[in-house]
């Protein structure tokens, strides 16, 4: 771990941008396409010169349409989505279509890579935390009875899958779905060597050799400030591929019966996680992995979370605690642009 002073102290982004301009390589000035999707912002950044910007506009518009299509199948906020149909089915063995099957497989991988802390089977606990059903826990498992590994998905025909689960187990892809969609959208734009898919703060990044993307880590304590600026540069003549994701408890929080609640459920308790981490940002090999580990670090707490990130061999992380400390594993220093 490195001390807080080695990281960027909260400061104005404008100063950060000016300082970044003096660094080794100029950051990419991208062509950006912004939209609203998945309940938040969706921005696609392309490293496109002026000659290719029209082509880039078409490509990003197609990507946004594809993202909308995927999101429509994976959201729990629509009764007609594939996910909602699965959750409404009382059977314990259900066939699902390819997109949902792939996302559920990604959720399974997320659970395994986070040592069980990122669990996509906690929809009822999430709804209970939000105060739905009168705040009753519903199907929330008892403490210590996590069902994160109690389900499976078998391959079906033509990319579909067959979900086998305990009766009543329902899914909520949430950030895992966003990370999976961001990674898939990045593959959709494979013709562009330098791309960033910003799925409401979770980033899937590809960078051509010799190019640099700069990513600011938001400071939730004050607007327009950042905890750090990460410089993601593809070196050694090969393109770079990263995922950068941030998870925390300072945005989605509310009060139920006088008790503070937030949306990150600890699968060990079925309740909102009790943690000293306000926010965790992780740099990993994909947006899915980064999102998974960032959420796990928040749920686990600062010290256990850092240990988990070390075991997962992430490329970098920035953790803000409720004490105001900004913590990061040592390898993060290689990514700091200041």
């Amino acid at each position: 771990m490195i001390a807080q002073e080695r990281l960027l102290s909260p400061r104005r982004e404008r100063a950060g941008a000016a300082q970044a301009n003096l660094s080794r390589t100029e950051p990419i000035v991208p062509f950006s396409h912004a939209a609203t999707s998945m309940g938040g912002r969706l921005v696609i950044h392309l490293d496109a010169d002026s000659e290719r910007r029209r082509e880039g506009g078409r490509a990003t518009a197609e990507a946004v349409a594809r993202i909308e299509s995927w999101a429509a199948r994976l959201t729990r906020h629509s009764s007609t989505s594939d996910l909602s149909i699965l959750n409404a089915d009382p059977a314990d063995e259900v066939s699902v279509r390819p997109t949902l099957a792939a996302a559920l497989r990604a959720g399974r991988i997320a659970t395994e890579s986070s040592e069980g802390l990122t669990d996509i089977t906690l929809l009822d606990a999430r709804l209970a935390a939000e105060g739905a059903n009168g705040g009753q826990p519903g199907a929330v498992p008892e403490a210590g009875a996590s069902r994160a590994f109690d389900w499976s998905i078998a391959p079906g025909r033509h990319g579909s899958g067959i979900v086998r689960r305990p009766p009543g187990l329902r899914f909520d892809l949430d950030g895992v779905g966003k990370g999976w969609i961001a990674d898939r959208a990045l593959r959709f734009l494979a013709a562009w060597p330098s791309v960033v898919i910003d799925a409401d703060g979770d980033l899937a990044i590809r960078c051509a050799a010799g190019r640099t993307w700069e990513v600011a880590v938001d400071d939730p304590r004050a607007p327009d400030t950042s905890l750090a600026v990460l410089r993601l540069t593809a070196t050694h003549g090969v393109p770079g591929r990263w995922g950068v994701a941030t998870s925390g408890i300072s945005i989605h929080r509310w009060t139920v019966d006088g008790q503070a609640r937030h949306h990150l459920i600890d699968p060990r308790s079925g309740l909102p996680a009790v943690t000293d981490v306000i926010q965790a940002t992780v740099v990993a090999s994909s947006a899915l992995r980064a999102e998974t580990l960032a959420k796990a670090a928040v749920i686990a707490g600062s010290w256990a979370g850092l240990a988990l990130l070390e075991r997962a061999r992430v490329q970098g992380a920035v953790i803000l605690t409720d004490r105001g400390d900004v913590l990061a594993p040592p390898q993060t220093l290689a990514l700091l642009g200041n």
Binding site: V29, V43, D200, A216, D218, I251
Partner: protein, 207 residues
Amino acid sequence: MSDLESLQPPVSPLVRRAPSPAAAHAPKAKPDPRPMRIALGAGGLAALSALLTAIVMPPAKPMVQAPIADDPQNGQGAQQPPAGPGSTPGSTPGSVQRPVQYVQLLPGETAPPGARVIDATAAPGNATAATPAAGKKSASGAAKARPPAQKPGGAVTATAPPAAQPVAQPVPQATPQPVAVAATVAPPAPAPTPIVIKTTQSGKVVP
């Protein structure tokens, strides 16, 4: 023997005896090679000189029709095709080539009398205005007679005053003179601002 001699045909006095081998290899008188050598040498030098000239000389720059000679309102100038190397588009046997100078004005400065505003990017680096010979009135001449116009946003230009001296047919002897002072005022393009890509918690409103 006398009988045999009598059997030989008589030899005509017109028939010449074949020369002996020794006589066939006798040296023959040749023409003098020096004039031919001199001629070939001179020709070779001329060809070599022409080759060297073609190699060393830079290619002729194409003459560009000056936008000042074009009237943007009638669009005739815009319809002129670009000239090829070595050609002088718009020039006729009775025309005078006039160089046009483009001058950049600082922000706040105004175009001088007779100058016309053009777009900052429209001024070519090497321009020539073709002024028709006396008796010919062209669109460029009409454009020169117009008062200067100031384009918002910056760019300025120049206009050529009308030709003062009458040019006699068929070929004018007047020396080329600067025709116009073009001015260009273009504010420097702002440097692109790097977009700060930010990773946030989901649901964070980022301006």
